[in-house]
Amino acid sequence: DAGITQSPRHKVTETGTPVTLRCHQTENHRYMYWYRQDPGHGLRLIHYSYGVKDTDKGEVSDGYSVSRSKTEDFLLTLESATSSQTSVYFCAISESTVTNSPLHFGNGTRLTVT
């Protein structure tokens, strides 16, 4: 496995509470991504980063924010969690955005919002 650690692996939280998910990489890759995986929707990009302090929105960014203060860490924050944000969240990394640099995924965080 590529050196990607997601924490926590599981979390249950209540509607309206803030939640932060962490992705830590040891590969020194420039690009980092947050995806959510839901049945019937596959993997959808939330936000991505192309360098320290450089981030951009993905397909489903509403209700989420991200920060990247160090190359190795990419944080995903749900400011006020809603039940529709119950999902499995995957972090991914890549060295570049050309085809010989595939995405490497972490093992996911299962988030349940009650």
Binding site: Y33, H41, T97, L103, H104, G108
Partner: protein, 113 residues
């Protein structure tokens, strides 16, 4: 135009059989088509990928077939094994913008002995 449509949603195959998963896209700017394999409790991992300069790419028992005119591509798993039981995702993006990768909805493959 950004969608990648994947079928079937689930697939049951007997050991030794051929598993076929199909994907279709609309965006003619897409020219990179990877397949990812995901086991339960794990993240997806790249299995095989194709560019449209070839119509077929084979790696071991896994083959991608690509039909540019129909804007379709498919994954064939020959001699399917129980260890191939996993969820498979197709994806597509422009070749130099894989940060814009769009995934299909996934196919859950079960291979029975």
């Amino acid at each position: 135009q950004q969608q990648v449509k994947q079928s079937p949603q689930s697939l049951i195959v007997q050991k030794g059989g051929i598993s076929i998963i199909n994907c279709a896209y609309e965006n003619t700017a897409f020219d990179y088509f990877p397949w990812y394999q995901q086991f339960p409790g794990k993240g997806p991992a790249l299995l095989i990928a194709i560019r449209p300069d070839v119509s077929e790419k084979k790696e071991g028992r896994f083959t991608i077939s690509f039909n540019k005119s129909a804007k379709q591509f498919s994954l064939h798993i020959m001699d399917s094994q129980p260890g191939d039981s996993a969820t498979y995702f197709c994806a597509a993006s422009p070749a130099y913008n894989t940060d814009k990768l769009i995934f299909g909805t996934g196919t859950r493959l079960q291979v029975f002995p």
